[in-house]
């Protein structure tokens, strides 16, 4: 790496950052692989990248990994959609009607702050180990970001803009399409980003606790079997999925709501 005076080209700066990032990741895996040249390797305690790659390939070719992901995705989708359908209207009503907001705000805050995961044993006792229990857990964790972000979003709608649209003869429809939706939607999408992380926690808790299939169950089982290469492979897959979701939404936010960048 040469230490030239920084050229003031943004794309060079950007490339530099990406390159450094890739370099760091490559270094990390290389160091992980190389350290066992000096340290005795115990496959019951740790794995190494080459074995993890083999494990990943075997999991993919045997079809067990796609199957686990599919099983986990079902309650995830149900719970998440339910969270959107329930959370967004509640948040909008809380923002629209001031008194409803007053009445529900403390309750929602307490529920949001409480580690609702703690109810997992109860949910499992109530609903068994199937899709409903997991979906409910995911719903309970994912609904609050939607409620709060819709609530804040509605309250953040600029009164001035509403008055401007009205003064210039805009219809009720214009009001919604030009002011309200554009200002609330970014909040809801930002809420979705938070909710996805929490929903993934719900999937994992549900499956660690009581399940017979699914990606969380696979991780726990490979751990019990001391099959660390496969366990690391599954963990890696979960990380990749999580990054794709969160960064995907972030990208969507940047592309769809450029006026929100920097907030």
């Amino acid at each position: 790496m040469t230490d030239e005076p920084a050229p003031r080209l943004t794309f060079v700066d950007k490339n530099r950052k990406v390159l450094l990032g890739c370099l760091a990741v490559a270094l990390f895996f290389a160091a992980w692989q190389a350290v066992f040249l000096f340290v005795p390797f115990n496959p019951l305690f740790i794995s190494k990248p080459s074995l993890i790659a083999d494990g990943l390939v075997s999991l993919l070719s045997s079809g067990s990994l796609p199957e686990d992901l599919r099983v986990s995705a079902v309650p995830f989708v149900y719970g998440f959609i339910a969270a959107v359908i329930v959370g967004v209207p509640i948040g909008i009503v809380m923002g629209w009607r001031v008194r409803v907001g007053y009445a529900l705000d403390p309750l929602m805050t307490v529920l949001y702050a409480s580690p609702l995961v703690a109810l997992a044993p109860l949910v499992v006792v109530f609903f068994g180990v199937g899709v409903p229990a997991k979906a409910l857990l995911i719903f309970a964790l994912a609904v609050f970001p939607f409620i709060f972000n819709a609530y804040v979003g509605v309250r953040a709608v600029d009164r001035l803009l509403i008055n401007v649209v009205r003064s210039l003869g805009g219809s009720e429809m214009d009001l919604y399409m030009k002011v309200i939706v554009p200002s609330v939607l970014p909040y809801i999408v930002a809420g979705a980003r938070i909710a996805i992380g929490r929903a993934l926690v719900g999937v994992l808790v549900g499956e660690f606790f009581a399940a017979s299939e699914g990606i969380g169950f696979a991780i726990a089982r490979y751990g019990d079997l001391f099959a660390l290469d496969k366990m690391f492979a599954c963990i890696l897959v979960v990380m990749i999925v999580a990054v794709i979701f969160t960064e995907g939404i972030r990208w969507a936010e940047r592309t769809a709501f450029p006026w929100r960048v920097g907030q």
């Binding site: 890739c22 007053y102 703690a118 109810l119 499992v124 963990i235 979701f245």
Partner: protein
């Protein structure tokens, strides 16, 4: 009476009305949020309490059902007989140790990453990946490595609480006022002085909001660590109770964790207010 006199009288009357009307209105307006908020919580609790009196609940369902009064009674019993102190102590020590270690790692690392563009670029993929991933995914691995004791719990809390703190610290450091940094540097400050005099005070609001997030994550870490791999603690108590259908104990545990979380967050808020007294009002808003 002339028109003007009438007008003045009217104005005076209106003014007097306003003077009398205004305080009562603001009192209601000020208390409205509190009253309605308390009302909302109370309404839920009352509805929950009277539900079994209105709806006939079958014997089987009764096994899974509890009322707020039962939960309060159970909580009271736990504290009165002192049975709660041992698990609470175990959970609290895991929480405190983990959060302490997370702060000790995240603060210096955040400052260093925030001050160096190269390190920032190199750490960024790892931080993004770990922050997006639910840290819970490492739980089986951590249990494999550290067993069922305090260490595993502390490790889970640390990896949960570290990232919000780390990210907020480096965001705060990066947003520190460049002019101030240059001024201090012109006066011969080294990197340590810059961190101490400019960067840390300026990033305090970021760090504090990171700390609030970290507290929530740390409590979550304690809960899940105790659910899946511990021998003692409030979480263990809850899992065992759920297995025995003692729903009131499960809710008591949930309340304990919630209160712990809210209490710590409140303490941080108080600490923040004290530490940022010097700051002009508008700047302390994050």
């Amino acid at each position: 009476m002339t028109d003007i006199d009438v007008m003045q009288a009217n104005v005076a009357a209106v003014a007097a009305d306003d003077e009398f009307a205004a305080p009562t209105r603001t009192l209601w307006q000020r208390s409205e949020a509190t009253v309605l908020g308390t009302g909302g919580v109370l309404a839920l609790l009352v509805a929950w309490e009277v539900l079994p009196h209105i709806v006939k609940i079958s014997e089987g369902t009764k096994l899974f059902f509890t009322t707020p009064s039962q939960v309060v009674g159970t909580l009271w019993n736990m504290f009165a007989t002192g049975t709660i102190w041992t698990p609470l102590g175990v959970s609290a020590s895991g929480f405190a140790l983990g959060l302490g270690i997370a702060i000790a790692i995240a603060l210096p690392l955040g400052v260093v990453i925030g001050r160096s563009a190269t390190l920032n670029a190199m750490f960024d993929p790892f931080i993004t990946a770990f922050n997006a991933t639910p840290r819970l995914v490492f739980l089986p691995l951590v249990m494999l490595w550290f067993g069922l004791g305090l260490e595993a719990k502390v490790v889970i809390v640390v990896i949960g609480a570290m990232f919000p703190l780390l990210i907020n610290t480096y965001e705060g450091v990066r947003n520190a006022d460049k002019v101030l940094i240059n001024v201090v540097r012109s006066f011969g400050a080294n990197e340590w002085d810059i961190a101490r005099l400019v960067v840390l005070p300026n990033s305090l609001p970021y760090i504090v909001s990171g700390l609030r997030l970290a507290i929530g994550r740390a409590v979550l870490g304690v809960v899940v660590a105790e659910f899946f791999g511990s021998e003692e603690g409030v979480g263990v108590m809850m899992v065992k109770a759920a297995g025995r259908y003692q729903v009131d104990v499960v809710f008591s545990g949930l309340i304990i964790f919630t209160v712990l979380s809210l209490l710590m967050t409140g303490l941080v808020k108080i600490g923040e207010d004290r530490l940022t007294r010097w700051r002009p009002q508008h700047a302390s808003e994050f």
